[in-house]
Subunit: 483 residues, 2 copies
């Protein structure tokens, strides 16, 4: 989902009354970012509070490439990483993940081995394969074991776009919340539904209800679900004890537009890029009685902050034995304070850009290669900013392209190199970048090796269902990451 997909963020059909209401009762964060323009690294960052380049969710197979966890990935989240649910245990929290895990699907990466107490969902994205003979369909787990597979037991009709997955995930969420409330146990729910990822789907009751087509139907179903979750918290009398945060793991995938792609509002490009459209996200914080209703914050935020903020809410400290990139957002959301901190935009292990205050400096620019672009893969459809949305990797490390995101949110007008403003600002930014690079210790890259043998052929539980498939011989290779 993109920054521009919610009514409160200016989507022209304004079809998200529940999320807009959530914002009216809570706080809109307009300058909130994800840690990566792609799903897996963002989610790893959220749960570890650390940049993907530190927690290992990146590749070094080629320069500045986005990578994630397809079925044939060998790597995943390392035991040495401390995940939010592991830490929350110390404060007595029960944690559940509903939906997409995406931090590795091999046994050692299972979410219940990394602090979660419960899981309902899938280890990988719901897109292909769609055939259970040649390649395994993605399994859906309940806790330790698979209970079926997408397209087989969990239907997604690619022709009509119908699937009731979001409804199933919603019901799981409501049940979990009820159970925790009944047992008086504090809980952490990571509601990581995989809508609105392509192939886009929605339940029958939402199909055809949006001005925006199928993608809009999916957004409406999410909006409705969020409304139901918030109502449920209220009904159970725990809304004032529950901090809720809504955001997305990357910008809208414009490549799937117009039928399956969302909106990044006035921002440049989308998913896969380190322009604002790829990484600035819709974000709403909600906590009645604590967060002032109708608030708006320009705090530079990041999904990694949800790690640190959640620990803070639980009365815990963030780990001190490692670098943590997330900051505690509570002073920003509760008292309206503004904390000065940079935002880093990475592609692989390359720092492409950095934001400091209202300025953003691009050290590298790239949308995608001419070769991919020639095949019709366009991350910036209808947009073309000369020298900015480049199809070759352009290095600007000695003279970064500098933008003022207040005057120019669309990153169309680089500041003149010869201007005083450029010089003053770059002096400040250079120090931030130098400090960042000087202390950076990259983790072992987890997204370099792929092997068809590790795919979800025979996940635990497959025997009971008669759904075990025979894996091929192991044949590890370097994964190919084109973007």
């Amino acid at each position: 989902m993109g920054w521009g997909d919610l009514g409160a963020f200016g989507e022209p059909s304004k079809e998200t009354p529940n999320l807009d209401q959530m914002a009216a009762e809570g706080m809109l964060l307009l300058d909130f970012y994800t840690a990566n323009p792609l799903c897996s690294p963002s989610r790893a960052a959220l749960l570890t509070g650390r940049l993907p380049v530190r927690n290992g969710f990146y590749t070094t197979n080629a320069h500045a490439r986005n990578a994630y966890t397809p079925q044939d990935i060998v790597g995943g989240i390392q035991d040495s990483e401390l995940l939010l649910p592991e830490l929350l245990k110390k404060a007595g929290y029960i944690s559940k993940i509903i939906g997409k895990w995406h931090l590795g699907h091999r046994p050692q990466f299972h979410p219940l081995k990394h602090g979660f107490d419960e899981w309902f969902g899938s280890p990988n994205c719901h897109f292909g394969p769609f055939d259970n003979r040649a390649l395994p369909n993605i399994p859906v787990y309940r806790d330790w074991e698979m209970i079926g597979r997408y397209y087989e037991d969990f239907k997604i009709d690619l022709k009509t776009g119908e699937a009731n997955l979001t409804q199933i995930y919603l019901q799981e969420a409501l049940d979990f919340i009820s159970k925790q409330q009944a047992s008086q146990q504090p809980f952490f729910l990571y509601w990581a539904i995989d809508a609105t990822h392509a192939p886009v789907y929605a339940s029958k009751q939402f199909l055809g209800t949006s001005q925006r087509g199928l993608y809009g139907d999916a957004v409406r179903e999410i909006d409705d679900s969020v409304g139901k979750i918030l109502s449920h918290l209220r009904k159970l009398g725990i809304s004032e004890n529950t901090f809720v945060f809504f955001t997305s793991d990357n910008g809208a995938a414009l490549i799937s537009a117009p039928k399956q792609g969302g909106s990044n509002g006035p921002f440049l490009c989308g998913k896969q890029t380190t322009f604002e459209g790829g990484m600035r996200e819709p974000a709403i914080a909600w906590w009645p009685g604590h967060i002032p209703a109708g608030g708006v914050s320009h705090q530079l935020g990041n999904v990694m902050d949800l790690f640190t903020t959640s620990l803070s809410l639980a009365g815990l400290q963030a780990p001190s034995d490692r670098e943590i990139d997330g900051i505690d957002l509570l002073p920003a959301v509760l008292q309206g304070k503004l904390i000065d901190r940079p935002v880093f935009y990475y592609r692989g292990n390359e720092m492409m850009a950095v934001r400091v205050g209202l300025y953003k400096a691009h050290y590298w620019t790239w949308s995608n290669s001419w070769e991919e672009y020639g095949k019709g893969i366009d991350f910036c459809p209808g947009q073309n900013v000369s020298g900015v949305t480049t199809h070759t990797q352009e290095e600007h490390t000695t003279l970064p392209l500098l933008f003022h995101l207040g005057r120019d949110p669309g990153e169309k007008y680089p500041l003149r190199f010869a201007s005083d403003e450029y010089e003053t600002v770059m002096e400040r930014i250079s120090i931030v970048v130098q400090q960042h690079k000087a202390t950076l210790v990259p983790g072992e890259p987890q997204l370099n090796v792929c092997d068809r043998a590790v795919m979800n052929w025979s996940p635990p539980g497959c025997e009971k269902l008669g759904k075990c498939l025979k894996p091929p011989e192991s044949d590890p290779k370097k994964c190919f990451w084109p973007h």
Copy 2:
């Protein structure tokens, strides 16, 4: 000002708390249009309820050209046109225009000859000339006579961007409202401030207060002024008797970006074009106790509707002796009804596009000429939709380019000509266009002839001020309209 310039419409710095509050108390109209992508024709349409091609505010000097009323224009609003304030007189209304008139500056076009009872403001835009010897600066009138000129008596500092014009216009508005309330007389106030037109200015107290630079400062001053006007109505106890509508006369002038240009949100291109960015406008209706608070409407609306709606509010009928394009919006804003009606997008006397429901068909596409574009004049900076944002006038009258504005608000993905959807929709649209063209009687074009002799050399009142200038010999010529 553009669709994307208000916080309520998704401007990322969200610096318009008063307008956002106006929307929260009233109704947001998300599908509201102006009648032309340029100022004078839009304003003529607003006050006559008729398309510029009917009321004469267009040119036939070249094909599909935007035209307005610079100082050397010979034409203006014709006596045969009935203006809103003329008609409101029948219901006892006193009408005042504050700000830019722009319907012709020669004596016969004076607003007090066309129904207004009071005027404070200028006949033309405040941009150049800036020298009172070679060419006259634009006069500022109080009622029948000029009381000074821009840059001479009404300072605009082009270096710092400081000018207190919006404050002066605000004070005029508050005073007029107080006076009418005291005399218990119904009033029509046309608050036609010329901010945020380039050269952009703001009062000292707003300079440097916006994240968005000088343009944002001007927006903030307008926002603040609207807040003060609404508070004033409340304080006087007449808010429930006063219908207030906020909108703009064309999309943001992206050509003035980033320093002096605004935002059209997710829409394509800007001022001067018939893409959404040129003609879809921010719009808020406010009438406490009548318009439901927090409402959102997808009614296709147009500035011409303000003519018919205002007459309706005053208990009057629109004239029946001529074609009126405006409709009464009251069923939409008071009862949430949706009235089926088309929106026409004109450039000169050419119907470039039409919107019916969520579909928009382009019969002609053009941003501007290669020649102008080569000079750096770009109405779509950073945007380039192949075959759509064309630099030659492209005719599509036999096979219009069709867009679904719900799925594709940015006009990036024309529907396939061979699709069923295209065929079905175009059948419907063709009927609408045929009906429109069959009944269209163009008015006498007013924007064809220019003559330096008619400039504001010696406006009424100049003698008292010693500000009369000697006009040159009359030398009427065809005006040159490049876009």
